[in-house]
Amino acid sequence: MHVKININGKLYEKDVEPRLLLAHFIRDVAGLTGTHIGCETSICGACTVLSNGLAVKSCTMFAVQADGADLVTIEGMAKDGQLHPLQESFWEEHGLQCGYCTPGMIMCSHQLLSRNESPSEAEIREALDGNLCRCTGYQNIVKAVQSAAGKLKRTTKVAAGD
């Protein structure tokens, strides 16, 4: 089946087998290998991307289901060479060790902060329930999300002229 998927503002299209997973379309067809595949069983969250604004596990969707969708992957977060506040905070707060889970952590945190601009620590932990870090660096991941929330709020205030 012929599918067209917009990823980070660029259109990718190809004839694919219906069974091709979205994660494989992103990595192999679009060549965007920032989206990682960890468990392939909907558990680990490394493959999380935004599909039409919703955080989804791209290993649990067929690419054909995303035909016509707008995706954002980790490569779409930085703008004009400027890291997204979430990326910056993960760097500053040492929110990663090996980095394998990081793209998924950031995409899911992005969903959280779009729904709740000042999450509590418990809310952050609950929101990242579907993302596993095998280095067990959760403390700093939580700190990074808290720091990013602060930065994003400040940015919004500046933009609003507060």
Partner: protein, 287 residues
Amino acid sequence: MIAQNFEYTVATSLAEAVNLLQKHGGRAKILAGGHSLIPMMKLRLATPEALIDIGRIPELSYVRQDGDMVCIGALATHHVVETSGVVMRHCQALADGAGLIGDIQVRNKGTIGGSIAHADPAADYPASILAFDATIVTLGPKGERLIPASKFFVDMLTTALEANEIVREIQIPVQSGKTGSAYLKMAQKASGFAICGAAAVVELDGSGAMAKVAIGITGVGNRAFRATEAEKALKGQKPTTDLLKRACEKASSGVIALEDIHASADYRLDLARIFARRAVEAAIERA
């Protein structure tokens, strides 16, 4: 993990999806959110020859109040159910359950219609669907059918749906009087599935006695069930710590429990008794 290949069709209406199901004669599956079906296909536990994607049918993910009924479209995601003001106002236990399913990503994609049609014995919704005496509206070749919740869950992964029938809507009667509801569960750590989940709906009368009590339990047996013995022992009584404890001792009487590496049958039966009591207590608090 790669699924066996299949033919993929996007249905633009439920009626078209029913026609396509008939065309494939039982060898096709309906794809909604795909969060039960796709994992099974990747493990090759399910190998349908065709998938009929109903996920793009517009106007099927609603939650609305229609008179004395809360109507939930089959494609409402767990996130929609969890955050719906109508659901929180009238059937809190259902919102509790939706919010405890999997994780954010799963709740963004998984649908209420897909979940109940799949009928996983450890799914969260069935406990509340039973406790609220919901009605499942289905569409098949002969038209619409209304199936009471008590008849819907037949066995493990088996419902009253015919081969060519699709869930269209879930209807939950708006509770009258001073009513509260709650759903609590003991989740398996990794998957989040219920080892035991209990939903309770309690209506209190003017004197504070329980005019109505309904308890649904999931995760324990082959299918979710109503704790009818416990309900009988509670109905008409004023809730006291002692009464709740004694009555909920009967919450799993006569049930044959599942057993796996996560919990023995005896443990599950015990959890059913404890979670039934806690759910009733939480429902009374909200009444």
